[in-house]
């Protein structure tokens, strides 16, 4: 007997070793359960991270917009109901491109928030691009490259030319370039609805992975867009990225309260997508819960059988002076050890399945379907939860063992 091991450990380990086949089967069952949970969790986390990355790759987490213009009718004449008057007279106004009031202060305020990573002001509006006989309606987005490219990584999407954005440069999508028949170094003329116009040089072609976006979106320097859109010194949006993408809605609400400016999070602008992600998470959690539950019942049933099989031995241990507490701990330990052993093997099975998935589940071009992040925290959680599940599952049989009347147990 190892001297450093407590009595309960020694007896629990020997009991498990003695019931070799039972132990083997239940550890296999737990391993499969934990393996499934680990594999599913990592797969779903990878899938969701990939979805979210794709959604957020071309948009900020939070966008601040100027308040909508509203018509403010005078009060109704005497004898006319107020709501009838508003309906009749207050026609919804057209929404012009307007600047966010006091935007420099707001940018500084938001940048000071600890949860915020990047704040980037931009001026965006519609314009007409003309080259020879061809013309297209586009969205001209004026940005400060040093900040905006940390939100939307345009340099990574450049397929030709560079992401340089000088005062007379423009970045356009590959599909717009095809439509207009332009390439790097060519000049195109932009005219905005407010009458502003500028001739710009194509410095780079990008591919956002979406034909519509490639045809419509263009990027210019912030002051170029400001003069083109008639927004001298102003910005129409403030784009924000935050550390925790799932906290975006809460932070947007906080920004709204603090600044009084409309702030939309990616969660509210992609509500259906987010609902789908949440539904997927709920389904996965439910599956994991039931797998965990079946593992718990497996452990409990094996230990109940073990208590019945060993009731005489428990009786003789009690006759020798072993306390109820010691008997309780012997069976709790068995549950915990079964959970721990099963979770170690299950984690390895899950890891192996993830490695195989990464190796064999690939796109037609040989690239991975989506990158999987093998997070050590997932394995730690699996180990801790399986061990706790084992302990909890063992509680009822352990209590039964501890409550055995030694005289009855010895008589059999």
């Amino acid at each position: 007997m190892k001297r450093w091991r407590p009595f309960e450990w020694v007896v629990a380990l020997r009991f498990l070793r003695e019931g070799r086949m039972q132990t083997l089967f239940i550890v296999s069952g737990i391993s499969i359960g934990v393996g499934v949970i680990v594999f599913m969790s990592a797969l779903l986390a990878g899938l969701q991270a990939n979805f979210i990355r794709r959604v957020l790759t071309a948009q900020p987490h939070i966008q601040l917009l100027p308040a909508k213009e509203v018509a403010r009718p005078l009060g109704p004449p005497l004898g006319v109901r107020a709501d009838a008057w508003v309906d009749a007279m207050a026609q919804a106004p057209l929404q012009r491109v307007r600047s966010i009031d006091q935007w420099q202060t707001i940018v500084a305020q938001i940048a000071a928030l600890p949860e915020v990573l990047v704040v980037s002001p931009s001026a965006a509006g519609s314009a007409l691009v003309v080259r020879g006989d061809a013309s297209r309606a586009i969205s001209a987005v004026g940005v400060e490259p040093a900040r905006y490219f940390r939100i939307v990584a345009i340099p990574d999407k450049i397929v030709k030319g560079s992401s340089r954005l000088g005062a007379s440069d423009i970045l356009i999508g590959i599909d717009l370039a095809t439509d207009l028949g332009v390439t790097i170094g060519d000049k195109i003329r932009l005219t905005s609805a407010s009458g502003g116009a500028n001739t710009l040089t194509v410095s780079g072609l990008f591919d956002l992975g979406n034909k519509g976006a490639n045809q419509r979106t263009t990027f210019v320097a912030l002051h170029t867009a400001q003069s083109l859109l008639g927004l001298e010194g102003g910005v129409s949006h403030i784009d924000v990225t935050v550390k925790d993408v799932y906290a975006a809605e809460r932070i947007a609400r906080a920004i709204r309260l603090e600044t009084g400016v409309d702030a939309d999070s990616w969660i509210s602008t992609n509500a259906q997508f987010f609902t789908a992600v949440q539904a997927q998470t709920t389904a996965n959690t439910t599956i994991r819960f039931f797998v965990g539950l079946s593992v718990a019942f497996g452990i409990a049933s094996v230990l109940v059988v073990s208590v019945v099989q060993k009731s005489r031995e428990i009786g003789i241990l009690r006759a020798m002076g072993i306390t109820r507490g010691q008997v309780l701990r012997i069976f709790l330990l068995q549950g915990g050890l079964l959970g721990l052993a099963g979770s170690v093997i299950g984690s390895l099975i899950g890891l192996l399945a993830l490695v195989l998935w990464q190796r064999y589940a690939r796109n037609a071009d040989g690239t991975p379907l989506f990158p999987l992040v093998i997070d050590p925290l997932l394995f730690t959680i699996a180990l801790v939860l399986a061990t706790i599940t084992g302990l909890l599952a063992a509680f009822a049989p352990a209590l039964r063992a501890a409550r055995l009347d030694p005289a009855v147990a010895i008589r059999g």
């Binding site: 031995e313 006759a319 010895i410």
Partner: protein, 238 residues
């Protein structure tokens, strides 16, 4: 005058208390056992011998009456205190050896000491080895309990019962499952421990020849002590 190792006064035991089928098994037992006494308990099956032994061994509680172990009144003690008292003051040998099959002979003998201390240490191993040597099983010390013969297993059980050097040993037909030769060997060991260590022994048996070799024979019939006779002079102990 020293206290009796075991004292039962007016001990009664009923089963199914408060139910229509309530049955009184022991009807007011008075019994004292002194240090160095080797007392046989005889009686027909169902007379209450085993129940008496379980109560004397603190495995079961009397319905009424008083029970003292080494002068300590036990009726008011809680389960934890009774368990510790049982572990340190009373050794058990049953008709069936009840060895833990997952452990070796040596480990089985160490078990009461190990359970009491919580951790194993060298002195326990030494004591267990000595006890196994004394019951003639020194060479079998590392054998798994299940690999020993019936007689050997009962001798290991006897060594285990003596591991804590208890003042009281309760033996419930320990020779009942053994052949004559093995039964005689086990009984001789009991006698030797009684003689050498002054261990008081309460020995339930149906074997008249073995009972005749004890100091005293108590006859239990229908839950009452019918007779209590000295059959041999008890050795004088200090």
């Amino acid at each position: 005058m020293a206290d009796a190792v075991l004292r039962l006064q007016e001990v009664k035991k009923s089963f199914n208390l408060g139910l229509p089928n309530e049955t009184e098994i022991l009807h007011g037992i008075d019994l004292e056992l002194w240090r160095g006494e080797f007392c046989a308990v005889m009686g027909p099956s169902g007379s209450g011998k085993s129940t008496l032994l379980h109560i004397a061994g603190l495995l079961d509680r009397p319905t009424s009456g008083r029970l003292q172990i080494g002068g300590l009144e036990t009726t008011g003690l809680d389960d934890h205190a009774l368990t510790r008292l049982r572990g340190r003051s009373i050794g058990f040998v049953f008709q069936y050896h009840h060895l833990l099959s997952a452990f070796s002979a040596l480990e089985n003998v160490m078990m009461p000491m190990f359970g009491d201390a919580g951790f194993a240490h060298a002195s326990m191993e030494l004591r267990a080895a000595e006890l196994l040597q004394s019951v003639g099983l020194g060479p079998w010390r590392d054998q798994p309990a299940g690999h020993l013969s019936g007689g050997q297993q009962q001798r290991v059980a006897l060594a285990r019962a003596l591991a804590m050097n208890p003042p009281l040993l309760l033996a419930d037909e320990p020779t009942g499952n053994l052949d004559t030769q093995s039964a005689d060997a086990v009984f001789s060991l009991l006698q030797a421990f009684n003689r050498e260590h002054g261990t008081a022994i309460l020995f339930v048996t149906h074997n008249h020849a073995l009972a005749a070799r004890c100091h005293r024979i108590v006859q239990v019939v229908d839950g009452r002590i019918q007779s209590d006779e000295a059959v041999a002079a008890q050795p004088q102990l200090e």
